[in-house]
């Protein structure tokens, strides 16, 4: 039972990271990014390219894949979404769908669709605490990564001047740009941060299962659930959202069998939409039009 709970917790950590990516883009860039799944998979495969295919030393792997992913984020803004500035919201969402399709094609063309095993920095092992409560090393790594990302995000948005500028730009881009905030760079930073968080989630998930485009893409899409529970725009709200989804998925799989893994998060989304569409932590929508 405790093992199960611990499993739910490590799963929640991964969901929190994916949810963070959804919320950050929705909040900073104002985009509901339906390409999150494809981009998360792309990030994980880029990491795998550095780590497994090229077998580079680990510091190079980490820095290289981070730089590549950040560059992709920047390119996404400059090439696509900057050109769509001022278009209605639904056009942006449709553009993310187009992006998702194109990225999936590119990834499948480059890396194929079969599952792979990634090179590990340390061998994966089962860690046991006290009487029979166990988890894997990489489960704990994912938990650590989530804590790190959320602590960093909190500090960044609360105390750093760039973080405060980002919040200002998210609140009102026109006023912020009048006040001397380089809104484009804020958006680039938003993409880079979101893609990085998503990629970290994908990598941790792949270390706990296996790396397949379908698997990590589906994870990225399901990450919409914790974001929605948290209200789509609240970074703090993602944490309880992720716990809820992690628990639902773990116990759903336990009681109703493996395939439930694919739908537990989506059922959470439907229930949230039915009961409290603005989420548990979302701002009340003032403009109800």
């Amino acid at each position: 039972m405790l093992t199960l709970l611990l499993g739910a917790l490590t799963l929640s950590a991964i969901y929190a990271l994916v949810g963070f990516a959804w919320v950050l883009l929705r909040r900073t860039n104002g985009i509901l990014n339906l390409a999150t799944g494809a981009q998360l998979a792309l990030g994980a495969f880029i990491f795998n390219q550095f780590a497994t295919s090229w077998g580079l030393p680990w510091p190079v792997v980490v820095l290289g894949s981070l730089a590549t992913i950040a560059a992709i984020g920047a390119a996404t803004h400059w090439i696509v979404f900057r050109k769509l500035a001022g278009q209605p919201e639904f056009a942006l969402v449709v553009a993310t769908l187009g992006l998702a399709s194109a990225l999936k094609g590119v990834s499948s063309l480059t890396w194929g669709t079969e599952a792979r095993v990634m090179r590990e920095p340390v061998p994966s092992q089962v860690i046991t605490f006290g009487d029979g409560v166990s988890t894997t090393f990489y489960g704990l790594c994912g938990l650590g990564a989530a804590v790190l990302v959320f602590a960093a995000a909190h500090t960044f948005f609360r105390f750093s001047s760039v973080g405060i500028r980002m919040r200002a730009a998210a609140e009102n881009p026109v006023l912020a740009s009048q006040g001397g905030v380089a809104v484009d760079w804020v958006y680039v930073l938003g993409w880079a941060m979101a893609l990085t968080a998503a990629a970290v989630a994908g990598i941790m998930y792949a270390y706990q299962t296996a790396l397949s485009f379908h698997g990590v893409e589906a994870l990225g899409m399901r990450g919409l659930a914790p974001a929605l529970v948290g209200g789509l725009t609240s970074i703090r709200g993602v944490i309880p959202g992720a716990l809820l989804v992690g628990l639902a998925e773990t116990f759903g799989t336990k009681f109703f069998g493996g395939p439930v893994q694919d739908v537990a998060a989506w059922i959470v989304i439907l229930v949230v939409l039915l009961i409290r569409p603005q989420g548990l932590f979302g701002d009340k929508q003032v403009q109800r039009v």
């Binding site: 339906l34 769509l84 449709v94 553009a95 769908l97 187009g98 499948s108 919409l224 569409p277």
Partner: protein
């Protein structure tokens, strides 16, 4: 500037000419095309039904839905259950799938559209994954991974078993749906929908109930897409879960973006473009020298290239030509008229 009356006469003449050309094209196609090619056109016509339905929701009202593939699956599995398990006649199954499509659209749209438009994308995404899961489970239990095989469709005593018969049926259905969408566009509903899309605040202040109008568009479009799923199932006489992916849903969105959002003629053109592109690409690749490495590589990865092409076209059209092929056509026509005077 010319006077109004001359403009009207020219307009009527142009419209009649357009209709004549369309009628000639419809009659000519079965004569010049071989059966296989005619079947491709029929597939495009079935897709055009879905694209017309999307025009209602995305083109007129400005809502994004990712549920197209799930609704197609709904119609197709409805056909499988109705025809194979219950052995119902074709028309009954068709009516049933329209009804079920509307009900599912209502269930998915109702919670989402209370809030704001963007939530429909979320709800339909959830609908997609849940419905596909359910159908997958059902298929595995009922027949296994090969899927369902459907009997030949028949209306009354008339069986629809040749390419030409299917073509005629689908031409009639597409024309009727086109008419419906065009009439709706000009009606009170169409005006309200487009006002909601362009200035929601103004629509609300006119006393238009936004959730009700949005929901009406989504329910109607769900019913039509489900119906087209049933046509697809009977036409291919096979239903299996692998064909209903999220990428398929994106393909339908590509149709209306490429065709031109809000234009029903554009939706049909976009559907033809998206459906006919892969076989044409395939033919073009076959023209390459067969020993070329490139040709083999292209042929093997045609599916991936399709994903890339559709995705890129969606983004490119959104950026450069938000009014799509229809806008391009209008612009060309305007140029010609200007040149004539």
């Amino acid at each position: 500037m010319t006077t109004g009356s001359i403009d009207v006469a020219a307009d009527v003449r142009r419209r009649l000419l357009g209709r004549g050309a369309l009628l000639a094209l419809i009659c000519l196609l079965p004569v010049v095309l071989r059966d296989y090619q005619l079947s491709l056109v029929t597939t495009a016509l079935i897709a055009a039904l879905g694209a017309l339905a999307l025009t209602l929701v995305t083109g007129f009202v400005g809502l994004v839905t990712a549920g197209n593939s799930a609704l197609l699956a709904l119609g197709a599995y409805g056909a499988a259950i109705g025809a194979v398990q219950l052995e119902l006649p074709f028309l009954v199954v068709l009516a049933g799938s329209v009804l079920v499509g509307a009900v599912v659209g209502l269930l998915a749209g109702l919670p989402a559209l209370r809030v704001s438009g963007i939530y429909l994308a979320i709800a339909t995404l959830a609908m997609h994954f849940i419905l596909i899961f359910v159908f997958n489970e059902y298929q595995t239990r009922a027949v296994g991974s090969a899927g369902f095989f459907l009997p030949t469709a028949s209306i009354g005593g008339l069986t629809i078993d040749t390419a030409i018969k299917w073509y005629v049926v689908l031409v009639l259905v597409v024309l009727a749906t086109w008419r419906l969408v065009e009439n709706l566009k000009k009606s009170k509903f169409g005006r309200a929908w487009m006002l909601i899309r362009d200035t929601p605040l103004a629509a609300a202040s006119q006393g238009i109930s936004l959730p009700a109008y949005k929901l009406a568009a989504f329910v109607l479009s769900s019913a039509i897409i489900s119906m087209s799923g049933t046509f697809l199932a009977y036409f291919q006489q096979a239903v299996y879960i692998e064909s209903f992916t999220l990428e398929l849903a994106i393909q339908y969105i590509a149709m209306i973006i490429i065709g031109g959002m809000g234009s029903s003629g554009g939706a049909i053109a976009g559907a033809c473009f998206v459906v006919l592109l892969p076989p044409m690409l395939s033919r073009a690749i076959a023209l390459l020298p067969s020993d070329a490495v490139v040709a083999g590589f292209l042929q093997q990865n045609l599916g991936d290239f399709q994903l890339i092409i559709y995705g890129t076209l969606v983004v490119v059209f959104l950026i450069w030509r938000p009014d799509g092929l229809a806008g391009l056509g209008r612009r060309l026509a305007a140029l010609r008229v200007k040149g004539a005077r």
